[in-house]
Amino acid sequence: MWTSCVRARMLTAVAAVAVVAGSAFSTNALAVPSFGRQTGMACEACHTVFPELTPFGRRFKLNGYVIDNMPVVQATDEHDNKQLTLNQIPPLSVMVQASYTKMKKSIPDDTAGLVSPGNAQNGAAALPQQASLFYAGRIAPNLGGFIQLTYSNDSDGVGMDNLDLRFAKHFNLLGSDTTFGLSLNNNPTVQDVWNTTPAWQSPFDQQSNAAVAPGASAIVDGALGGQVAGLSAYLWWNDSVYAELGGYRSARAGSNASLFPKAQDGSTIDGLAPYWRLAYEHLWDRHSLSVGTFGMETKLEPGGTLPLNGVTDRYRDVGVDSQYQYIGDDNIVSAQATYINERQTLGATFGVLGGASNLENTLKTWRLGGSYFYQREWGGSLGYFSTKGTADSGLYAPGAVTGYGMNVPDSRGWRAELDFIPWENTKFALQYVVYNKFNGTSTNYDGSGRNAKDNNTLYLLGWINF
């Protein structure tokens, strides 16, 4: 997430750098030994294989990360109300990722904006790709946090990564136990507990940040990560029904104490962007099945030469998702499906800036994936991804490597991964991405002679959390 997620169709020049220097996808990391330190429970309690959550892991998060089995400093008032519950040992942890990325065909030498003359090189090693420090766990009696600071190699800096502060309390509603919760977070869906929503998508939560990736993605699909503040309220009823409503907001460009400096990159939310989520989960035997829907309506101010509070681009995102898990003693199977439909009304980019050729566009994203693990030690995943959208010569302009020769945002392909987890907190992944279509077509997609399969990517990841 800390890696850049600037939208290609908004500022092609910026995106051209971002797509290579960063990833168009989020690269999150959830597994945190902090929680293990606080609860005294092993990773397997909350994760099938990290970062995918088990049913218990989902409930731990919904309860505000507060289950605590280690010594605390505490204070109570005369009515036995808890005034303070502080971990004696702070639940800190560290994550380090090292990776190697090799594309089928290197980016051509002297590609404008991407590679300087004589600098083309394939086979990128990253040590670290990301390194993070977490505080994750209970903060106060009903309040917990997941706070991640990350150094990432593509930004060569340390910044605020995932942030999710949660308050949760139980009450009885219609005869069933109900959790009421609040989440203050910095990325739409980072607060979600199913691994079908963008922030914690599974499988393939980790992807290379050194390869060229498709340019078009929906706003709710990671574009706002780390650039916004959101507050949402949720109910978890009868251990099966989840409903959430919230809103996201940017810091205003020019504010004298901007917490979100990246908000001026061209994705400043006008007012409040409402976010909603509904899901149903059924558990039986060792199985769980969830179906849900989520969405967000975002008005973005393009910034640049346009004044804020002026005309905006509107993005209406609606997602549908489903997850199945079987968690046996030896065998773990899971499958995820996500569909996101985005309707864009580009009042600013089309109407004023002339950066789009249509006022209204659509973008449809599919992700299907499944994984199998044996004894949480060996496993693999296979997934299909597809993005289709309206042709737009303004948003999707030709350009070497990251451009769209046919003015179409369509991309699709397959992703496969083999995993070895020697210890519960360590994962080695070998991933391969095959593009059948990239930024519009399979051959000469960029208008400069590059084919989709040239971007096929081999990615080797070592990931340790301690």
Binding site: G40, A42, A45, F56, N69, M70, D177, L283, R286, I327
Partner: protein, 202 residues
């Protein structure tokens, strides 16, 4: 003065009652908001990875929670889940948790494969003398309801029972040497499955 003493004693008694009910409420709160995440709302877990606790004998639950806390029961799930969950439980809370679950209504038995259940019934009631495997009924009683520190098996997840028998056989579970002696080293996986199917149906 007498009034003062009476008032003081009365207040102390009230405080005692209050403290006791607060402790019981604490245990119920734990059971319904924390333990329930795996063991189900009232100890009626849906996943066989987690045993059903509803109606389990209080003395058995108490002994197990203490065994987790003292690390004398150390099968893999015990280490991964319960060592942490019991780390800070005091004896009073353990007692209250045990009372809470013992007071819940047990999950009714679920019938499995008839042939398997019949074989299980045979072993449960008569053991396998040739293999020196004792009849389960000796300790767990005719309806598999157990007694005191002998656990109730009736209605328990069959998968969970099989796993525990395997742990006793391989001595991964060493908290109850009697069990290892009772089943010896000869009980097969099929025999374990038969016993489990039978007791789950009770």
């Amino acid at each position: 003065m007498k009034t003062f003493i009476a008032a003081t004693v009365g207040a102390a008694l009230c405080m005692g009652i209050t403290a006791s009910s607060v402790a019981a409420n604490h245990a119920e709160d734990l059971a319904t908001h924390t333990c329930s995440l795996c063991h189900g709302p009232k100890g009626e877990s849906t996943s066989p990875a987690f045993p059903r606790l509803a109606g389990q004998n209080a003395a058995y639950i108490e002994a197990q929670l203490k065994a987790f806390r003292e690390h004398t029961r150390g099968d893999p799930p015990a280490q991964a889940f319960m060592w942490g969950m019991t780390a800070l439980l005091d004896d009073q809370t353990i007692h209250d948790l045990a009372q809470y679950y013992a007071a819940q209504k047990p999950v009714p038995g679920t019938a499995g494969d008839p042939a398997l259940m019949a074989e299980g019934k045979q072993i449960f009631e008569h053991g396998i003398p040739d293999k020196k495997i004792m009849a389960c009924v000796t300790c767990h009683l005719p309806d598999a309801q157990g007694n005191e520190t002998i656990p109730r098996l009736a209605g328990q997840h069959a998968d969970y029972i099989v796993k525990q028998l395997a742990y006793f056989k391989s001595e991964i579970r060493r908290d109850n040497p009697t069990m290892h002696a009772a089943i010896g080293g000869n009980m097969t996986l099929d025999e374990m499955r038969a016993i489990a199917a039978y007791v789950e149906s009770k």
